[in-house]
Amino acid sequence: MHRPPPLSLLCRLLLVPLLLAALPASADDDRLDVVAPWEINSLDPVQSGLILGRMQVAETLIDSDDTGALVPGLATRWQSPDATHWHLTLRQGVHFHDGTPMTPKSVAASLERTLDRPGVLAQADILEVTPTDQGVDLVLAQPFAALPALLSHYSTQILAPAAYDNDGQVTRIIATGPYQVTQLALPQRLDSTRFEAYWGKAPAIATTRYLAAPRSETRTLMAQSGDADLVFTLDPVSLARLRMTPGLALFAEPIPRTVALKLNATHPGLDTPALRHAISLGIDRDGIAQGILRRSDAAAHQLLPPSMARWHLSDRAPEARNLDRARQLLASEGWTPGPDGILSRNGTRLALTLTTFADRPELPVIATALQAQLRELGMDVQVNVGNASEIPASHQDGSLNMALLGRNYGLVPDPLPTLMQDFGPTGGDWGAMNWSSPALQDIFTELTRHTDPARRDALAQQAATLLADERPVIPVVSYMQTLAASSRLEGVSLDPFERSYRLADMRWGD
């Protein structure tokens, strides 16, 4: 009897799936594949709204345009007589993905639930959310003129009542965006399809997929191989390689995110504006921009970028590196070089620890560059690379000396809430440490009360001047959002506020 030898049988069995596997690689070509580093941790918009918003699954009441101006989202109008009482008018004819209409009651319930969780909305001190005939009314404990900007933050996305269980936990994502979730595989993948009953313009591309690929090598290779149509957040070295890859279009847009040095203003080496000025003068921003970020325009001399004109001092000239001037400033504060070249005052050496984290891969590299640059001034800096949460934690327990971080001032289109958080009366976890300014608090309070644009412009300029002179936080370089897109795609653009990937505006070319 002839029996097939077991090995060759096994080989034949294996051939079948191999052949099958080789075929359908091109089957999903009409699906828009998006790759970015951020994982989807949960169904709750407070945690994962960033991705739900960018993939255009969930929407907020208020939206923003490229200049940061607020534009209607699910609410068409918002008014306040006194910045304490707010009336929002809802858009008519909006449906949730389960087919139910969006009503003032469902919006109020969704907002109430957001208020129970930590997030930006807590800043506004909202006392009451009441549904009305056409919209919702909000009553605040104090005036807060930046409330509409907070209502554009992803954590305030509106979900349908059926999205929650009895405990208020999100069990399904039922929102209002142009795309609805078809499958969600936490933490990596989100598949969605066009929502036919969308209130706005129907998207041209019918299906999309989001894939979280935290490793930058993986993302670059996916862009290079054509597996993904849109690949976000590319590292500078890969970007140079992708430029030479045919079939890809590269996009870059400055975003209001700044790499900055957070300083403990009670440390003896950092406790006067002159000392902090010396550090700022010791930093070679252009060197870091060219050598690490590979961009000549990345040096940041102010915390807020020129695109946030209200908060940017356009007439202030950038200050180039000047070691002589820096040494003079240090000497005027009593810090002089010791026998080992390290500055000392009354026998104490100027030694500092610089804490940073690796979630943003360029930060540790910039930190070591700063270490070398400040060494030239005679400062002995140790770099400590840890988890991002060590920065707020060591801010709270007072052990932090210096921290290098990337701060997004465009989290909401108006930077005021972020700045109030960072430079509040007791400092801020991601901002000033042991530094506060009553004058700045007064400006902030006035800004929360005034809705007049001219008055707000003047106040914001005053605040920016104060921060630039006192330097509780020193800007280093600014970020660029980067995207590699398949050249088959048309209508690709970047949102400078990173709120949306704008998939609904894209279409397949020929």
Partner: protein
């Protein structure tokens, strides 16, 4: 008690011991790691930029992190005894449900990797073991050393470069389609195959040099018949037994490879859970990996017992 039942009972006891050791170790280790747990969990939940003292304090209060460690430890074992692995501190979802989804992906990856490793390593080892050419042996050894000494991460990158970018045959990373499985599985399989091919080579060379193999050829069996009837089964015992040893390599590899290929498996989840101090998730994943190790070793034992008639009689 028959030896088979005895051996299984031993494995069951081992599984219980593994559960206790893994549960205790992960608990002690996560509690003694530097850094504030509440801040870490808040970072895992809200993204690092949203971590403020207020968010961390909210997490601390919600999860009662200040409570007694001993109580939390006993609670976990109590829940485990009832089959409840708790809820993830980051996503809020039941750990058991998440593990089920993740384990499926990892098992698929590991299973395909083992099959591929056997299909690559065994034929190569057999050929070089049977061949009298020293060159083939040397070549096999050189290849095996190279593959085993390269970290899976580097092999993975090389495979993506070749199969996705240069040839354009397979997707570089992702999941959801059968084609996504080949490259990560291959990246794991090459390292495994390196060892399997050497074990097979030595076993085959030993069998080929034995008197019973020479007798099989002398009584008139062809080379092929002799191999199938008298060679393979003899060779298979050390190869399968050695697979058990290689499981460690496989599990290490899974953690790295899943991250590189954005594969939603248990190794990748473990790394993230450690970073985010998601204690129930760390305990759950470590427990599943530990028990998986015991189970696979038991299966290797059974397979060896089935393959080796000497063990059945003894």
């Amino acid at each position: 008690m028959p030896p088979l039942a005895m051996s299984l009972l031993q494995r069951v006891c081992q599984a219980g011991l593994v559960a206790w050791v893994v549960g205790t170790l992960t608990f002690v280790l996560t509690r003694t790691l530097p850094g504030d747990m509440a801040y870490r969990i808040a970072a895992g939940r809200y993204g690092h930029e949203q971590v403020t003292a207020a968010a961390a304090e909210a997490v601390r209060a919600e999860l009662a992190l200040e409570g007694s460690a001993v109580q939390a430890y006993l609670q976990w074992f109590g829940d485990l005894a009832r089959g409840d692995l708790g809820r993830s501190l980051v996503s809020g979802q039941p750990v058991a449900g998440e593990l089920q989804h993740l384990l499926g992906h990892s098992a698929q990856l590991a299973g395909v990797a083992i099959v591929m490793a056997l299909l690559i390593g065994v034929p190569f080892g057999l050929a070089s073991g049977l061949s009298r050419h020293r060159l083939l042996d040397r070549l096999g050894l050189a290849l095996a050393v190279a593959m085993r000494s390269l970290p899976p991460f580097v092999i993975g990158l090389g495979l993506i470069m070749l199969f996705s970018i240069t040839l354009g045959w397979l997707p570089a990373a992702g999941s959801g389609h059968l084609t996504h499985l080949w490259l990560p599985a291959m990246a794991l399989a090459l390292g495994l195959a390196a060892v399997s091919s050497r074990v097979t080579h030595h076993a085959m060379a030993r069998v080929a040099a034995s008197p019973f193999y020479a007798f099989a050829r002398q009584k008139g069996l062809s080379a092929r018949q002799a191999l199938y009837r008298h060679g393979l089964r003899n060779v298979s015992v050390p190869v399968v037994a050695y697979l058990g040893v290689q499981l460690i390599y496989l599990m290490e590899g899974v953690v790295v490879i899943e991250s590189l290929f954005a594969w939603p498996g248990i190794g990748h989840a473990l790394v993230h859970a450690v970073v985010a101090r998601d204690v129930p998730m760390i305990q759950g994943t470590a427990l599943v990996l530990g028990l998986g190790f015991v189970l696979l070793n038991a299966l290797v034992d059974l397979a060896c017992r089935g393959l080796d008639p000497l063990r059945q009689t003894s």
